[in-house]
């Protein structure tokens, strides 16, 4: 009798969603019982850690010493420290929350050491009452909670700019995206307290880092869902994420969520700061550049299998990854094992919601055949993640920012995985 869980739903071995839950299939197919590490069987079945009392409690926990995962591809500008980026190790993580210590970093002049008692958020410009807020004061305001992704608009750019697919892993390619639960004060409440004057149209945000990093935010966004975030994943912001307070603009390019927020100036025009002109603008083939392209587009990436996370014994494997969109909720993620010739719908997991990441999963029967794994997401606006070719055609390879092309992973007959454009 044929077992329907083994009947592919798309080309090259994609299986129905229930296939991974069928334990008997795993053994039957020779994915096999994984060999137990020998240490676990030492001492006649009682391993060393069962032969005496364990460690005591700690004031602040840390990962197991056996877990060595960390942020990767830390790159500083030559001659500087702390100016550059570090990336979230996407392939090593599961679920949809990024641990705060693994949230990607992008700094322009290092991480400042801020005295929270001395720090103030100043609001001025086209307001009736210029105001200064202490952290202590902001903690007494009504707080709101937002589960949201944050993505640098330069994320994945190398896959657009490099003419040949660079042999890089998923963290290096796409690790400038993370997700946290952010808690903070709605910016609209603070602007209301200051009182907007006629003509107010933009809010110029500035950080308390050595670069005094600055971006212009449309007032409509500031009054909509912007918050002054004080907490990340339940605790105070980490220093590298803006301690003691940062601007957080859901769905917008990460650079605008100004960290170490110190000053908000309400104006009638954008300031045209360095980071919204010389950077974070998309140069088109005709030499002109698109500016103020704030919202992050619909995107997904397979995190496993991926480079460095290849396949061993033949059998059933999970294909999994993350999907997100700044324009709406993720409604669908499709996966292909044959380079996009045929597709099947992946299972979606996670709290989801507007501006939130979802986890997707798809069972795959790998029997040593070469494959090209691809995912493509569709959001609630109906927008579907484009291919690299479509984006190269539409905006050329120099546009760099807001690249959301489909990621293709080429799997060899040996089970190794590498980045691919074909």
């Amino acid at each position: 009798m044929e077992d329907k869980t083994l009947v592919p739903v798309a080309g090259n071995g994609l299986l129905p969603l229930g296939a991974l839950n069928r334990r008997q299939l795993l053994t039957g197919l020779g994915a096999g019982a994984l060999a137990l590490p020998s240490a676990a069987l030492a001492a006649g079945g009682r391993p060393s850690w069962m032969q005496g009392a364990g460690a005591g409690m700690r004031g602040y926990g840390t990962p197991s010493p056996a877990e060595t995962v960390g942020r990767v591809a830390i790159a500083s500008q030559p001659g500087t420290t702390g100016s550059g980026a570090s990336r979230t190790p996407l392939a090593a993580l599961e679920g949809t929350i990024t641990p705060s210590g693994l949230h990607f970093e992008r700094h322009h002049s290092g991480v400042p050491t801020i005295d929270p008692a001395a720090h103030r958020l100043h609001i001025h410009g086209l307001v009736e009452k210029p105001l200064a807020f202490s952290l202590e004061a902001l903690d007494r305001y009504p707080l709101v909670t937002q589960l949201r992704f944050l993505e640098c608009s330069g994320n994945s750019a190398v896959n657009l700019a490099a003419p040949e697919a660079p042999d890089l892993d998923v963290a290096t390619l796409h690790g400038l995206v993370s997700q946290s639960e952010w808690v903070g004060v709605p910016l609209s409440v603070l602007l209301e307290e200051a009182g907007l004057k006629p003509g107010a149209a933009w809010v110029i945000a500035e950080g308390a880092d050595a670069a005094a990093m600055s971006r212009s935010v449309p007032l409509a966004k500031a009054l909509d869902d912007a918050i002054v975030a004080l907490y990340q994943n339940g605790e105070r912001l980490r220093p590298e994420n803006g301690y003691p307070m940062r601007l957080f603009l859901p769905n917008y390019e990460g650079n605008m969520s100004v960290k170490w927020l110190r000053r908000l100036k309400v104006t009638d025009q954008p300031a045209m700061t360095k980071d919204e002109t010389s950077k974070y603008t998309e140069l088109m083939p005709d030499g002109r550049a698109a500016q103020f392209t704030f919202t992050m587009g619909v995107k997904s990436v397979i995190t496993r299998p991926s480079k460095g996370y290849g396949l061993g014994a033949h059998g059933i494997y999970p294909i999994t990854g993350l999907a997100w969109s700044g324009r709406g909720e993720i409604r669908r993620v499709e996966v292909s094992a044959d380079g996009g010739r045929s597709w099947a719908d992946a299972a979606l997991e996670g709290p989801g919601g507007p501006g939130a990441m979802v986890r997707f999963r798809m069972p795959w029967h790998w029997q040593g055949q070469p494959a090209t794994l691809v995912s493509r997401a569709t959001d609630s606006t109906g927008a579907r993640q484009p291919t690299r070719e479509m984006l190269v055609q539409a905006r050329g390879p120099q546009s760099l920012y807001h690249y959301n092309g489909q990621q293709r992973w080429q799997v060899s007959t040996a089970g190794d995985v590498r980045n691919s454009y074909v």
Binding site: H124, L191, L196, E206, R263, A271, Q291, F292
Partner: protein, 175 residues
């Protein structure tokens, strides 16, 4: 000019957003402390493309050349090019080619950006250490490298805001 092109549509968004957001803030304790002009004067750094926010001061290309050697060239190279951190000049006219070179002179749409950025963030190891006169001078020197201002230029607030950058019309509002 881009500012005018984008303003009308934003004004519409604004009215809608302001009406709803300003309706009420239940439980807001109103704890903002008055921000005095004296405190504000010490922290204000924003320079707008109109020149609003530029301080009193002036500096010449010649002064800027000396200051550049002292404060900038270690990272940005002799005469604004060839350093370990990004060329600041050159590349004018290259943006529509297969190898565009984005620099202050080739890409940045307003001269005010250079003043704003240098004053807030440079030199990397000692931001905030340059006087207004020195920032004007360094901007003048950089712009002179590609002929955006004459070799004998002296920049102050009025002159800087009046500078026409080569790529002033190069940006448009994206989606």
């Amino acid at each position: 000019m881009f500012k005018r092109a984008v303003s009308p549509c934003l004004a519409g968004l604004l009215l809608a957003g302001a009406a709803s957001a300003l309706a009420a803030a239940p439980g807001a304790p109103g704890l903002g402390a008055p921000l005095t002009p004296e405190v504000l004067a010490g922290i204000e750094l924003t320079v707008l493309p109109t020149g609003e926010g530029l301080p009193v001061g002036r500096g010449s290309v010649a002064q800027g050349a000396a200051l550049y050697q002292q404060h900038c060239q270690a990272c940005h190279g002799a005469e604004g090019q060839g350093g370990m951190n990004g060329d600041l000049v050159g590349g004018v006219g290259s943006l529509a080619t297969a190898t565009p070179k984005k620099t202050v002179t080739s890409y940045w749409p307003y001269a005010t950006i250079a003043f704003d950025y240098i004053r807030r963030a440079m030199p990397y190891t000692a931001p905030g250490s340059l006087s207004a006169d020195e920032v004007y001078a360094i901007v003048a020197y950089l712009l002179s490298r590609d002929g955006v201002v004459p070799k004998d230029a002296v920049l102050d607030a009025e002159a800087l805001a009046a500078v026409k950058m080569p790529n002033a019309e190069g940006f448009y509002p994206g989606e």
